[in-house]
Homo-oligomer: 165 residues x 2
DNA sequence: TTGTTTGCAAACCTTTTGCACGTTA
DNA sequence: TAACGTGCAAAAGGTTTGCAAACAA
């Protein structure tokens, strides 16, 4: 039997999803610290990811880099993403359309989850302190060396429900 | 500013994951009620899913049906799954390996989420009342017509951590 | 009967791999 | 220099689609 009390105090919709300017530098340093080199492709992928505030697919990252003048191969994008996920610097996100998306692994401060509109495909980040608390509670209660978690909510965005503007 | 208190009382590991014998019948009825026919393939997929207690991939469902003597095509399995997800009778689950999995959409009673061992690939269902509460709270707080949600926790199972048996 | 569903095979698309060349430390 | 990283192109694997035959109502 388990009895628990959670008290949360926070703002529900006021979280800022600004990009974290320090993430790229930290990731590059971490990569180097683990004995890996930072060739053009990996560095570019890290720098591109650092400028994103929510998740992007490998193709989107590739296109973004190319249209900014970078000359990466998509295979290198996939390879870099794999390694960054492995190092827990990047989080993989599956929103249910069969395309893997990736975003910087934020520290507990900037952690968010995803809201997917099944009508138009739009993805919105959200942050809910009570949910985060409960998740950490569940993670510690379950005896399972927890390293990452993902929450995806499916529904319809305001625009698609027509109520919007 | 939001202030909330959640008090939960429950068993963490005591939930039963028995298959729901009524799901198949209900799903078949629902399909018929919506004007669709129940040809061999769709019926067989529904009946197979009804016998599962956790998620399975399209290939696993196909193999399961074939080895039980059924003669479905895998395209029909995919088509049936798509339709069942559309009707919200089946829930799609993405555990991060690029393979879509599917399981009966349980009512709130039998609802569970997934624990994925990143070392051996094992998937375990879990149920956590506090987490479920928090999720419903978050869903109602966010203004987003919520229809489904998914939580995936990644870590290492007891076996892989070596502490196990 | 008549529109729906099915199975097969081909097509599709995302992701992975082989390999020779370029780069980093 | 020597190991590592990269790009290209080809291969792989999961999923979708076209189509004619089979089937449910």
């Amino acid at each position: 039997m388990i009895i628990g009390i959670i008290i949360f105090v926070g703002h529900a919709h006021s979280h800022e999803y600004a990009v974290d300017p320090g993430w790229s530098a930290a990731a590059l340093a971490d990569v180097r610290a683990r004995g890996l080199r930072n060739g053009g492709a990996r560095r570019t992928v890290i720098e591109h990811l650092g400028g994103q505030s929510c998740c992007s697919s490998a193709q989107e990252i590739y296109d973004g880099i190319r249209s900014a003048g970078g000359r990466v191969g998509i295979a290198s994008v996939y390879r870099a993403l794999d390694q960054l996920v492995e190092l827990e610097l990047v989080q993989r996100v599956d929103i249910g359309d069969g395309i893997a998306r990736f975003e910087p692994s934020h520290g507990s401060g900037d952690h968010h989850h995803h809201l997917v509109c099944d009508d138009c495909g739009r993805v919105d980040p959200f942050f809910d302190p009570a949910l985060e608390q409960a998740l950490e509670g569940a993670a510690s209660r379950l005896d399972y060396g927890m390293r990452a978690h993902e929450i995806v909510l499916h529904g319809s965005c305001a625009d698609c429900r027509g109520g919007g503007a």
